[in-house]
Amino acid sequence: MRATEVSGEPFRSRRNDLVCARLIGFVQFLRANGFAVGVSEGLDALVVAQHCELMDRQRLGWGLRSLLCSNADQWSRFDSLFQAYWNPPNRQAFVQSSASARVEKALGQQRGSLGQGETIDVDGSSEEDDGEVGDGGSRGGASLQASRSQTDFRFLHDGREMRELEELAERLARRMRRRLIRRQRVQQHGRRIHLRRTLRKSLRYGGTPLELAFKNRRRLLPRLVLILDVSRSMNLYSYFFLRFARGIVEAFRDAHAFVLHTRLVHITDALRERDMTKLKEKLAILSMGWGGGTRIGDCLGTFNREYGRLVHSRSVVVVVSDGLDTGEPEVLADGMARLRQRARRILWLNPLLGRDGYEPAAGGMQAALPYLDLFAPAHNLDSLQALETHITNV
């Protein structure tokens, strides 16, 4: 309906064609800058322009801003983008300084596959994911998965291999969630009577509820709290687990991620950043002191003090660390004991555990062991996959 309105009367003249093209160019410019703008928004942008008479640039800006933005970050960036596009000199500068080759490509191609490289990078697994819903198996990379899922992460040096593995981990994180949900739905044992269904069934007995229908208690998803050790001893694994954490945070509605080295940093919000370059920048800022020493005990103390309320009776806390702590083991034990009181379940993943002949002899590890529900290896994808049951049965 809106489409006809647009292509109809008022947009016929040559001048209006120009205006149209300019607006479409703006929409593409936004897309290239990471805005999710669909076709119908593009059409509505024309309607907005029509309503507020292009001459009134300020109102056009306001209108387009509320139409085309969809989160706070875009909201704050919009004004400078708008200026950049509609003021030619600035625009040149802007294109070269920040939006880089993608913009030029997009503007050149006019309509083609805009910002595709970007999309694949961020949620490349989505198409494949959809295919997997039906059989739960893995389409496409099945053979890949078989060979790689056994490989110890520390043996991956090739950049491309590493990337594939990271994507696999993200996909795994998503699939774990899908299974969680399905399992909850399959259960059919109810406790409370479903009045509506019961009444329906009672009709054939003249209104006496002989057959009862039950409804399930909805099982709620657990809350996941990930605490990743990114100190120097974990160097080989930390980037990989960050990627995994990103998948988890994306896939689970209720997940929180932290990293610890000499101090504790909350990184959930940073991980939600969709733009890879920005994500890296954010993490870099947050991560002053990565690859340094480890003070697990102190960090757990901070966690309990400041983020303790995040952990409730449906929470699963997953600590990924080698347990090589430079602090006092008593502090670590104390932190674990307090965490124990709040959390439903504590899992400790130790990448070293996958190596032959490793014994958890480190002082920190010894101190933590009594408080764990599960102490498991985390050196390859299979070991991560095995986690699923421990998270489900909460």
Binding site: R2, A36, V37, G38, E41, D44, V47, V48, H51, C52, Q58, R59, W62, G63, R65, S66, L67, C69, S70, N71, A72, Q74, W75, S76, L195, R196, L199, S202, L203, R204, G206, G207, R218, L220, R253, D254, R272
Partner: protein
């Protein structure tokens, strides 16, 4: 609402008791021009819900509010059958010898239907303003369902058939960012980020809401709150808190912030809502802020 321009909307909002900037007025104008829901985001306490109420007043429409919470389902949001009535009706008609299908038709008729906000909103003769408050608290399934209702404006009830909208409501959604909303919903909606108001705007709000406040105190209060928001607080005070505090100061008969630091300290409970924040703002900090605000 044809024929309205930006200043009209702004002025009518002001008459309805809501001080809006021109960006918001432009957004509201769009809301009437495009049939899209409006998504408002922003920290708690910046007046998101107030926007919806103001829209209802400006356009003279009834306001229907759907408060979301974890576990909100279609029964609570759309419709429910009135079981007690149905059971009674079945008993009463037991002896009348109707056939089963007649009975079924009777007890699943509109008489026994309880309309919840969503259904109510699309079946009113007068198109209302539908406020879906804190959509981020509801779960993803509900969000998807809501998206469907908002694009088709029809609801199907298995026992009754499909109910089409007799009126298209203006839809306003608010979110605090407890959970990330789906891209589909975000894309579908107009978006407005409600920020903390500027000094001048907040001053106008305080003076509109509390006409009896003195110019001097109002200025000090607003500046103090603005300074306070710059501190590293766990929960920054919103506009509602500013108004509460100003009211409290009026009750305590305080004429100026620099006159009695002890009772100002006591009244800060209106602004600081967590233990950590109350500990962080000591008498010294408060005095420093006061001197900045009165300077």
């Amino acid at each position: 609402m044809p024929g309205l321009n930006l200043s009209d909307v702004q002025q009518r909002l002001a008459e309805a008791g809501y001080i809006a900037d021109r960006q918001l007025a432009a957004t509201l104008l769009l809301l009437t021009e495009l049939q899209r829901p409006l998504l408002l985001e922003g920290d708690a306490g910046v007046g998101k819900t107030e926007v919806a109420k103001a829209i209802a007043r400006v356009f003279g429409r009834p306001l229907i509010r759907l408060q979301c919470y974890e576990g909100l389902d279609a029964n609570a949001a759309v419709y429910e059958w009135n079981y007690q009535h149905q059971l009674l009706a079945i008993k009463i008609e037991e002896s009348e010898g109707h056939s089963v299908s007649e009975k079924e038709r009777h007890i699943f008729s509109e008489r026994f239907l309880l309309k919840r906000p969503l259904l109510q909103a699309i079946t009113m003769s007068d198109p209302p303003v539908l406020l879906v408050d804190e959509i981020d608290r509801a779960d993803e399934e509900f969000e998807a369902y809501l998206l469907e209702v908002l694009s088709d404006f029809q609801i199907s009830i298995p026992e009754l058939g499909t109910i089409r909208a007799t009126s298209t409501p203006y839809v306003v959604l608010t979110s605090n960012g407890t959970r990330e909303l789906s891209d589909a919903l975000r894309r579908r909606c107009l978006y407005h980020y409600v920020d903390y108001p500027s000094l001048e705007k907040e001053l106008r709000i305080v003076k509109t809401r509390l006409p009896e406040i003195s110019e001097r105190l109002a200025g000090q209060v607003v500046e103090f709150v603005h300074e306070l928001r710059k501190q590293d607080l766990r929960k920054r005070p919103g506009i509602a808190e500013t108004l509460d505090w100003a009211t409290a100061l009026l009750r305590l008969e305080i004429k100026s912030l620099d006159q009695d630091s002890a009772s100002i300290m006591d009244s800060l409970v209106c602004l600081l809502k967590t233990k950590e924040d109350q500990e962080a703002v000591t008498l010294e900090v408060s005095d420093r802020l006061v001197s900045r605000a009165s300077g």
